[in-house]
C-alpha cells in the first residue's frame, strides 16, 4: 500500500466498509455500483478535508466503530449523527477537524440517522478494483480485501492536498428532513402494474421500515400495495439502479440500493436523485411516505440541490 498508515480499527462496530461514489461501466458483467449509500455525506466529508469528492471514505452503520488516529490528519464526519466522540469529547459533524496522532474516534450510538461517512485527508488508500475503491460485500472484492472492517485493520491514506482552509457544511442545505421520511418518486418504469387504487395506496400509505433492511435494500411494511388484476409477478430481467422501488408478489415495496445490477421484479416507481441520500439515513422502524413528481420537476430539484450543496460550505469552495 502506497499511503501512510492513518487509522487503526479498535472495534469495527455493526458494519464499517470502505466506500467511494461507486463503480460504473461494469453493469454489463453484472457488477453492481456499490458506493456510500448517503453519497452526499461522502462528498461533503471529502470536501471538508480537501479531497476530491470521489475519494474513499469509511461508511459506518449505527454504532460501535472505534479507531485510533495513527498520524496527524484532517478528518470529517458527515451524515448520520451516530454520537461521534474524539477522545471522549463530542465531535462536531460536517466540519474539518485537525486530529492528532494517538487520538481515538468512537461512535457511541445514534441520535439521528443510520450511517456516517468518515473522510481523512488524502482519502482511504485501498487498491482500485474495476475503477472504484468501494467494497462489494456480496461478491467479496473492492474496499479492504472485499470485506467489512475488523479489529486490528490498519488503513492507509493517500497524500493529502496542500491544506486549504478548514470548512463547515450546513446540512440543512442538503435536505434531510426526517423521520418521518417523505421520499419523492417518479412513476415507472413499470407503473402500469398499478391501477388507481394501487397508486393511491403507494402515495397515501404510511410505511414502516422493516428490520431486514440493509445495504441491498429498504424493506417496507405496514401496508401492502395491490397490483392490477392479472399483472405478472415478475418481468424479463433488466438493469436496475438505486432508488428503484420493487413490488414483489406480497405487495410490500422494497427500495433497492446500489448492490444490485439487474433483476426481474416489477418496479412501479423510482425515488428521485435529489432524495437518494436520505436512503442512507432511514432506520428500521422509521415511517416513510411517498410523493410523486414529474420528470421535469425531478431534474429541477436535483439542479437546485446541487447548487445548494455547493453553496453550503463556509468558507465557500474555490471555483
Amino acid at each position: 500500500m502506497a499511503g501512510a498508515p492513518t487509522l487503526e480499527v479498535l472495534s469495527p462496530g455493526i458494519l464499517t466498509t470502505v466506500q467511494d461514489l461507486g463503480r460504473s461501466g461494469y453493469a454489463r458483467w453484472g457488477v453492481a455500483a456499490s458506493g456510500a449509500v448517503d453519497a452526499l455525506a461522502a462528498r461533503a466529508a471529502n470536501r471538508l478535508v480537501g479531497n476530491p469528492e470521489g475519494s474513499a471514505v469509511l461508511e459506518t452503520t449505527l454504532m460501535g466503530l472505534r479507531v485510533r488516529v495513527l498520524r496527524d490528519t484532517r478528518l470529517a464526519v458527515c451524515g448520520g449523527d451516530l454520537g461521534a466522540k474524539l477522545d471522549g469529547e463530542t465531535l462536531p459533524l460536517w466540519k474539518t477537524i485537525a486530529a492528532r496522532a494517538g487520538q481515538i474516534l468512537s461512535f457511541t450510538g445514534p441520535c439521528w440517522g443510520l450511517r456516517a461517512c468518515l473522510a481523512v485527508g488524502g482519502g482511504i488508500d485501498v487498491p482500485e478494483v474495476l475503477g472504484s475503491r468501494s467494497t462489494n460485500l456480496a461478491s467479496g472484492f473492492g474496499g479492504l480485501q472485499g470485506r467489512a472492517l475488523r479489529k486490528g485493520d490498519v488503513l492507509a491514506a493517500g497524500e493529502p492536498q496542500p491544506s486549504g482552509p478548514e470548512r463547515e457544511f450546513d446540512p440543512a442545505a442538503a435536505g434531510y428532513e426526517g423521520p418521518p421520511w417523505r421520499l419523492r418518486i417518479l412513476w415507472g418504469p413499470q407503473d402500469e402494474v398499478l391501477d388507481e387504487q394501487g397508486r393511491e395506496r403507494l402515495l397515501g400509505a404510511v410505511f414502516t421500515v422493516s428490520p431486514d433492511s440493509d445495504r441491498t435494500g429498504i424493506r417496507l411494511e405496514g401496508t401492502t400495495v395491490p397490483v392490477r388484476p392479472g399483472a405478472p409477478d415478475s418481468i424479463i430481467s433488466e438493469g436496475i439502479i438505486a432508488g428503484a422501488i420493487q413490488l414483489p408478489a406480497d405487495g410490500r415495496p422494497i427500495i433497492v440500493l446500489a448492490e444490485t445490477a439487474s433483476g426481474g421484479y416489477r418496479k412501479p416507481a423510482t425515488v428521485i436523485a435529489a432524495d437518494l441520500h436520505k436512503l442512507g439515513q432511514i432506520m428500521p422502524g422509521d415511517e416513510v411516505r411517498f410523493a410523486a413528481v414529474t420528470l421535469e420537476e425531478a431534474v429541477a430539484l436535483l439542479r437546485g440541490r446541487e447548487e445548494a450543496f455547493r453553496a453550503a460550505f463556509r468558507p465557500p469552495l474555490p471555483g
Binding site: 461494469y26 454489463r28 413499470q190 439502479i241 445490477a261 436523485a273
Partner: protein
C-alpha cells in the same frame, strides 16, 4: 412511456436512467438489437452517459440529467437506432466450458433425470448438444444467462433455493442454463461443475463471457453410454 414506430420504447427509471426496450420477448433477434445499441452508444461515448446495462430485451442507459436533458437523450437514441446498418456486430465468440457432470459436482442430476423421465446420461447428452447464447450477465458478477435450454430439460426452479451454491456450479432452470461464478444463494438445479473461472475482479478482462457470446458445454468425466 413513449412508443416509437419501430417498436422502440423508452421507460424512465427515475430522471437519471432510461430503459430502452427493443422487443417484448426473450429471443436472439431482440437481444442482438440490445447488443447493437450498446455498441453504438459505446462508440458515441456521449458525455453524461454513466452506465450501459444490457438485459434480455432492453438496455438501461444511466446518465447525469444535469449534463444531458432526458428528452434530448431519448431523441438522440431514437436517431441512432434509425441509422441504416447501424452498429454491425462482429461474429460471436465461441467458448467451450468443460463440465464434470453429476456426483458431488452436480448433486441435483439424479433428481433432474428422474423428474424428466430420462437417464443422467440423457440429460448430459442434451445439455451438451446445444450452442447457447449469452443473453445477459447478471444476478452476480459474471453469471451468464444462457439460452435456450432444450425444451425436454425444462423444469421450474427449486421450490426452496439453496443458501449456498458452490462457485463453478453449472445449473438449469426453465429454458435457461447458467454457471454460478461465485458462491451465492441460488434456486436453479445443479447438474455439474466447471473449473473455468468466469469472473475474477483482478483478471483482465475480469469477466470471461460477454453478451452475445456462444457457449457450449463439454462433459469431461466421460460418462459411459
Amino acid at each position: 412511456m413513449n412508443e416509437a414506430a419501430d417498436g422502440l420504447r423508452f421507460r424512465f427509471m427515475g430522471e437519471r436512467s432510461v430503459l430502452v426496450e427493443l422487443g417484448d420477448r426473450i429471443e436472439p433477434a431482440t437481444n442482438r438489437r440490445v447488443h447493437r445499441l450498446m455498441r453504438l452508444l459505446e462508440q458515441e461515448n456521449w458525455s453524461g452517459v454513466r452506465e450501459l446495462s444490457p438485459g434480455y430485451r432492453s438496455l438501461l442507459v444511466v446518465f447525469d440529467p444535469l449534463q444531458i436533458d432526458p428528452a434530448e437523450l431519448t431523441r438522440r437514441i431514437q436517431a441512432l437506432v434509425g441509422r441504416p446498418a447501424a452498429g454491425k456486430l462482429p461474429p460471436a465468440r465461441r467458448i467451450t466450458l468443460p463440465v464434470f457432470y453429476g456426483g458431488e459436482h452436480g448433486p441435483d442430476l439424479p433428481e433432474v433425470a428422474r423428474r424428466l423421465g430420462m437417464t443422467e446420461e440423457g440429460v448430459i447428452r442434451l445439455h451438451t448438444s446445444v450452442t447457447y447464447r449469452v443473453y445477459m450477465i447478471g444476478f452476480t458478477p459474471g453469471f451468464p444467462y444462457l439460452g435456450e435450454l432444450p425444451e425436454e430439460l425444462a423444469l421450474p426452479r427449486r421450490s426452496t433455493p439453496r443458501t449456498r451454491v458452490p462457485k463453478g456450479s453449472v445449473a438449469i432452470a426453465q429454458r435457461q442454463t447458467g454457471v454460478y461464478p461465485v458462491e451465492s444463494p441460488g434456486g436453479w438445479h445443479l447438474i455439474g461443475w466447471t473449473p473455468v473461472e468466469l469472473f475474477h475482479p483482478d483478471r483482465r478482462p475480469a469477466c470471461l463471457l460477454e453478451m452475445g457470446d456462444e457457449v457450449r458445454f463439454a462433459a469431461v468425466d466421460a460418462v459411459e453410454d
